[in-house]
């Protein structure tokens, strides 16, 4: 049985704001304050160290001016007339995420290894009909990193601060992260060394399991046949996610060039 100390409070979904009220969302390390007035939405955001905070809670509606203290970035959005509906959706990063295992390891020939990965989430705040995106920001902005064979050739990605694991029990479930199972299939005759894995999260969807945790669909990485590696994105969440419900689709459609790439562009 999985153990976790997070408050299983769901922070996403549709919310109704009466006029001149606000709400406060604490999602892991970040706190969002959202206010609605007749002609304006205000979104304030502040984050502390990512791994220091866990849990999530939503306070809504808050009457009068919302207190968020100093040092908070406030963004204002003017409208002819605001409507009270606001949708908050978790989405995956807008670039690929690079994950390291706790210790680099070899994938032996003809082996299929399940590698569990926890990716950082972004928050998309939308209002109106048709919906207009007010903000699409990371809950905690990950560090940039470079993934490629040289400093001239490669891809700009985000570096994941959480190590990938070979056992699901070793992954800590957090409300501001989504879990992906990557099946690493070595179909060749030689061992493959895994030091860093490039996971194209903009092509993945997010599912909510019945316990409130977030998952993406499983991914299979087929390696060892020639220099190309193939990524296969499953159509649904893995079996470990009970009664999964799709809550957000991919940012980008997965094209052939993303799914079939040189191995050096996917793992190092």
């Amino acid at each position: 049985m999985r153990k976790s100390n997070i408050t299983k409070r769901i922070w996403w979904g549709s919310f109704t704001f009466p006029e001149n009220t606000g709400g406060k969302w604490r999602i892991g390390p970040a706190t969002f304050w959202i206010e609605r007035s007749i002609h304006e939405w205000r979104v304030a955001y502040k984050a502390v160290d990512e791994l220091a905070e866990n849990g999530a809670e939503v306070a809504l509606p808050l009457q009068g001016p919302v207190e968020h203290g100093s040092g908070v970035a406030v963004t204002r959005f003017g409208m002819s007339k605001t409507t009270g509906n606001l949708t908050i959706t978790p989405v995956l990063a807008d670039r690929s995420v690079v994950i390291r295992p706790e210790t680099p390891f070899y994938i032996l020939p003809n082996q299929d290894v399940a590698f569990y990965v926890s990716s950082p989430l972004w928050v998309r705040i939308e209002t109106g009909d048709p919906p207009v995106v007010l903000r699409d920001i990371p809950i905690f902005r990950p560090s940039d990193t470079w993934f490629g064979p040289s400093t001239m050739e490669g891809e700009l990605c985000y570096a994941d601060r959480v190590y990938g694991r070979l056992k699901l029990e070793d992954i800590k479930f957090r409300p501001h992260r989504a879990i992906t199972v990557v099946f690493l299939q070595n179909q060749g005759s030689g061992s493959i060394f895994l030091e860093r894995l490039n996971l194209p999260v903009p092509n993945l969807s997010i599912y909510e399991a019945e316990d409130g945790y977030l998952w993406t669909q499983a991914v299979t990485l087929k390696m060892g046949i020639g220099k190309k590696a193939e990524l296969e994105l499953k159509k649904k969440a893995p079996a470990a996610a009970k009664n999964p419900k799709l809550i957000s689709g991919p940012r980008q459609k997965a094209e052939k060039s993303i799914l079939s790439r040189a191995l050096k562009n996917l793992i190092i």
């Binding site: 690079v98 902005r141 990950p142 560090s143 940039d144 990193t145 470079w146 993934f147 400093t151 001239m152 490669g154 700009l156 570096a159 860093r196």
Partner: protein, 280 residues
């Protein structure tokens, strides 16, 4: 007046009027066709080459077509082109001597377009001038400096001098030179610097920052700390990481020394006498 009119009426015979009309039609239609053809060629080339190369090819093709059209129109009007071409040859030599610099710039411009060491929008440094490439023309390259001044550099100069393109590759390294006091533990300093880089989201995790022990300076241990950054964030990280290093050094009591001069009186001499002054 009447003499001039009679000469003109004698000159413009019906045959000549027809050839003049033909020449006019050739010129008018020719200019339209040349414009359409050159702009069409420019559009096709834009998909295959850079916008500057496409514009140059379009311009060259337009002037070439216009020359052909003028020659055809002159022939239609009954001019002897061999005489005209001979005169043009002499004129070309004369103009060539007079416009050596311009010709050199044009040829250098063509080499620059073929070589493509930079493109419009790149940040380059040419002979001590740094700026964003605003325009690349046949005669010159125009840079916009960060002080928002326009610098025109002749193409010949661009070919001859060293050009540094800072935006050729997607990532860049920021080298920070710093000195710490001799008393400091270098492994601790190294750890603090790497922690600062790890905390700053703009500093790339890979390629990892570099740490070089440069040497024993006059007043400090000289170090070089290099962090990699996405080229667009160069300035942002340059500022933020230097501030963060200073703050981290202050927090950890790491001294950044200024030049010292120690007065040594020698082993055989007595130390300097020190007197405590009580201000109270």
């Amino acid at each position: 007046m009447s003499e001039a009119f009679s000469w003109l009426s004698g000159f413009i015979t019906p045959e000549r009027a027809i050839s003049l009309l033909r020449a006019g039609i050739i010129l008018a239609l020719g200019i339209i066709i040349a414009r359409l053809l050159s702009s069409g060629l420019g559009k096709i080339m834009k998909k295959r080459t850079s916008p500057q190369q496409a514009a140059t090819i379009s311009k060259i093709s337009f002037y070439f077509l216009i020359t052909l059209i003028i020659i055809s129109a002159l022939r239609e009007m009954g001019f002897d082109l061999s005489v005209l071409l001979g005169a043009a040859g002499i004129l070309t030599v004369a103009v060539g001597f007079a416009s050596q610099t311009s010709a050199s710039n044009i040829i250098s411009g063509l080499f620059l377009l073929a070589d493509r060491p930079f493109q419009v929008g790149d940040i380059v440094e040419v002979g001590g001038t740094m700026g964003i490439v605003n325009d690349m023309e046949l005669l010159s390259v125009k840079l916009r400096t960060f002080q928002n001044a326009l610098v025109r550099i002749p193409n010949e100069e661009m070919i001859k001098t060293q050009v540094i393109n800072y935006t050729q590759y997607p990532i860049r390294r920021i080298d920070i030179e710093l000195g710490v006091a001799y008393k400091e533990d270098i492994s601790k300093v190294r750890k603090i610097l790497f922690d600062v880089a790890a905390r700053n989201p703009l500093s790339l995790e890979e390629p990892a920052p570099i740490f070089i022990f440069k040497g024993y300076g006059d007043s400090s241990i000289d170090l070089l700390f290099g962090v990699w950054v996405k080229k667009e964030n160069f300035l942002l990280l340059t500022n933020s990481i230097k501030e963060e290093i200073k703050a981290a050094f202050d927090e950890n009591g790491i001294e950044i020394p200024f030049p010292h001069r120690t007065l040594y009186t020698g082993s055989v001499t007595d130390p300097f006498p020190v007197t405590l002054v009580n201000k109270a």
